[in-house]
């Protein structure tokens, strides 16, 4: 979208109809690891490991700033031609370990992650929130990250939002799933709004998390990666970084194994690690790097989430419209955010309660079922490590977060009653369904983690930034302590739960890092958005609970 009078339109319905202004690469600069069977050496200024929400923006900005850049990606490059609009098949193909990564602890939590060029942005909902100012303020107080204040980050937020084309969902594409929930929120007087998302030409295909079939959702494989190519960067897909070579206290090279059984050596002056909050601590630990603070792999927050379902006497048709199009932030200060969680029948089938006949009856009612999500800004913390070469993510939901879930589920059920639901299905083992506006079963429930059905989509914090060397793996400029020339740019540096979806936070911190590495001033000339989402988070839950 073009900017007007120094402002960028964010309520322009064109973003939800016309995709003709998509970013196009001048050339697809991808080398496939499957084609590299021998040894190959390349020399660049910067090697970026990972091509998701963190890696792709860094690569693009460094390349545009004049550096030669190589982007290493363990997964393959997939394009819209590879998507088949079938959630079941896409989950198997686009998700790491076919969607079966889960935490171990007092309640197992599925943690879906992407594995391809564009990382998890390929399979997220496209929801965009800036880091709440109150959270950034807390980072300053608690982690010494004063340089990451709202004012300091503002130009970087604007830049990311322009490139990603962050615009608000119009009501006509929000889908009935969102509209019935909005009806309930309005009846209760709760605060909420249509979500801002990164799209160009969205028509509400309803399957954002399984590969957008219209190329409307602007995952970084459609934005930052082609812009990086246009500036001369090359993506090496199917190349898994194995080793960072250092000497004299500086990075010298990154070595990767290729899908073709070969070896790729990238000689570089800078290495930016962006393997995500699960991959980055494991990679650093294998190198013997980043361990001095004792915080590597620890402090994992995930925004655990669940959802409730409700049967209506009206058509809902969850597969039509934008699946995550509305949010309710009335209780954000309690660590509770409600966001849409609609999807096609196979996606719904996995999350619906029951089995056998009752599940079948519920599925046959699918056209009249609504599903809405509840996300908790968690106080619980987990850790990531490897044992015998196997990934282990340990995460126990603590008592406070469990109580927050109880509160959130009760509110969500209340919301559905206010919206006119006929039956409500809370996500609590042992409470099959609620009828006639009744909430007593949920209110009387003695909360325990094991009775909840949870997922999580936002791993953060495992190589956290902190200005004090004893407390953080990276410093306020995301430089890895203990060796020159290595930086981290992904969710692992985010030092706390932020209470909102983190992709814009990660992209913004990555952009700021790139400007720092280039010695460039912040991009103050970026256009102001006409409007942005401003969730009612006035007190970071992590400090106040």
């Amino acid at each position: 979208m073009t900017s007007m009078d120094g402002h960028r339109p964010t309520r322009d319905a064109r973003a939800y109809s016309d995709g003709s202004d998509a970013i196009r690469p001048e050339a697809v600069r991808v080398e496939h690891g499957r084609d590299i069977s021998g040894e190959r050496t390349v020399r660049v200024d910067a090697c970026v490991i990972g091509t998701g929400a963190g890696g792709a923006p860094v690569a693009k900005e460094l390349a545009e700033g004049g550096m030669t850049v190589a982007m290493l990606e363990e997964g393959e490059r997939v394009t819209t031609d590879d998507f088949n609009a079938r959630p079941r098949d896409m989950m198997a193909r686009l998700y790491r370990d076919a969607g079966q990564i889960a935490t171990l602890g007092n309640v197992p939590i599925l943690l879906p992650l992407g594995k391809a060029v564009a990382g998890t942005t390929l399979i997220n909902s496209g929801t965009c929130f800036r880091t709440p100012p109150a959270v950034l303020e807390m980072w300053g107080e608690r982690f010494g990250l004063d340089a990451m204040g709202a004012a300091e980050l503002d130009p970087f937020f604007r830049r990311v939002e322009r490139i990603q084309n962050v615009v608000q969902v119009p009501e006509e594409l929000a889908g009935r799933n969102a509209l019935v929930v909005k009806r309930g929120a309005d009846a209760l007087g709760w605060s909420g709004d249509f979500i801002y998302r990164n799209v160009r030409g969205c028509v509400g295909s309803g399957i954002c998390t399984f590969g957008c079939p219209t190329s409307a959702k602007q995952h970084v494989g459609l934005t930052y990666v082609p812009l990086a190519w246009n500036a001369g960067a090359t993506t090496y897909a199917g190349c898994r970084a194995r080793r960072i070579e250092t000497s004299g206290g500086r990075v010298r090279a990154v070595e990767a194994s290729t899908a073709g059984g070969g070896r790729l050596r990238v000689e570089c002056d800078l290495a930016v690690i962006a393997c995500g909050a699960i991959g980055t601590p494991l990679f650093l630990r294998r190198q013997g790097l980043g361990k001095d603070s004792g915080e590597l792999g620890r402090n994992l927050s995930i925004h655990p989430a669940t959802g409730a379902r409700a049967l209506f006497e009206e058509p809902i048709e969850m597969a039509k419209g934008v699946p995550q199009s509305y949010f309710i932030d009335q209780f954000a200060d309690e660590g509770i955010m409600f966001e849409g969680a609609a999807g096609p029948p196979d996606y719904a089938a996995m999350s619906f309660p029951f089995s056998g006949e009752r599940h079948r009856e519920l599925m046959l009612s699918y056209p009249s079922i609504s599903q809405f999500g509840l996300m908790v800004s968690d106080l619980s913390r987990g850790h990531v490590h490897e044992r015998g070469g196997l990934l282990q993510i340990r995460y126990d939901l603590n008592r406070q977060d469990t109580a927050t879930f109880k509160r959130g589920i009760e509110l969500l059920c209340e919301l559905y009653w206010a919206a006119g639901a006929k039956v409500v299905y809370p996500p609590i083992e042992g409470i099959a369904e609620l009828r006639d506006g009744d909430l007593s079963a949920v209110r009387e429930w003695e909360p325990r983690p094991g009775a909840l059905t949870l997922l999580a989509f936002h791993p953060l914090g495992t190589a956290r930034a902190d200005a004090r060397p004893a407390n953080g793996v990276v410093d306020e400029n995301l430089a890895l302590r203990g060796v020159e020339g290595i930086h981290v740019a992904d969710g692992s540096v985010v030092p706390s739960s932020i209470g909102v979806n983190p992709q814009i936070t990660i992209m913004t911190l990555a952009t700021r890092l790139a400007f720092h590495l280039l010695g460039a001033p912040p991009p103050h000339d970026e256009p102001e958005p006409e409007a942005i989402a401003e969730p009612r988070i006035t007190r970071p839950h992590a400090l106040t609970a």
Partner: protein, 144 residues
């Protein structure tokens, strides 16, 4: 059906288990008329080796548990009513980990079955039409 990972016996157990979990009745097609088993086989091939072995082992556990817990036979020897009784019993297992693992297996069966094109269509989702619209928009507007 050519399978990548599953043996014919394992495929038969998964089909039986899925029939128990999703309990299809008209208008929904029987499991054998869907590609649920083929999907499960492909899905297994994409899992890390340890997870794959664990899932295959769980199939054998599911096959034998009804016999070992007093339901009168292996899973595939029981009629649906008896299998459903066994499933209800397993869902009430006192050990939470057993219930969690069972939920994983049930979810896999539900995904495999309800992801079938014919089943999706009966519930109002036309994947092919969604895909076709995407192709047409991309062609018309030059989207990537």
């Amino acid at each position: 059906m050519e399978l990548r990972v599953l043996s014919a016996r394992e495929a038969s157990i998964f089909a039986c288990l899925t029939d128990t979990v999703v309990a299809p009745e008209p208008i929904l097609p029987p499991v054998r008329e869907t590609d649920a088993v083929r999907f499960f086989d492909e899905w297994l091939s994409l899992l890390p080796p340890l997870n794959r072995r664990a899932m295959r082992a769980l199939l054998l556990v599911a096959e034998m548990t009804p016999l070992l817990t007093g339901f009168g036979g292996r899973l595939r020897r029981l009629d649906r009513g008896r299998r459903t009784e066994w499933l209800r019993s397993a869902e009430r297992a006192p050990v939470p980990q057993v219930r969690m693992v069972l939920k994983l297996v049930e979810s896999t069966s539900q995904l495999a079955y309800y992801g079938n094109d014919g089943v999706l269509m009966r519930l109002g989702y036309d994947a092919e039409a969604n895909l076709r619209r995407g192709r047409e928009l991309r062609a018309a507007e030059g989207r990537p």
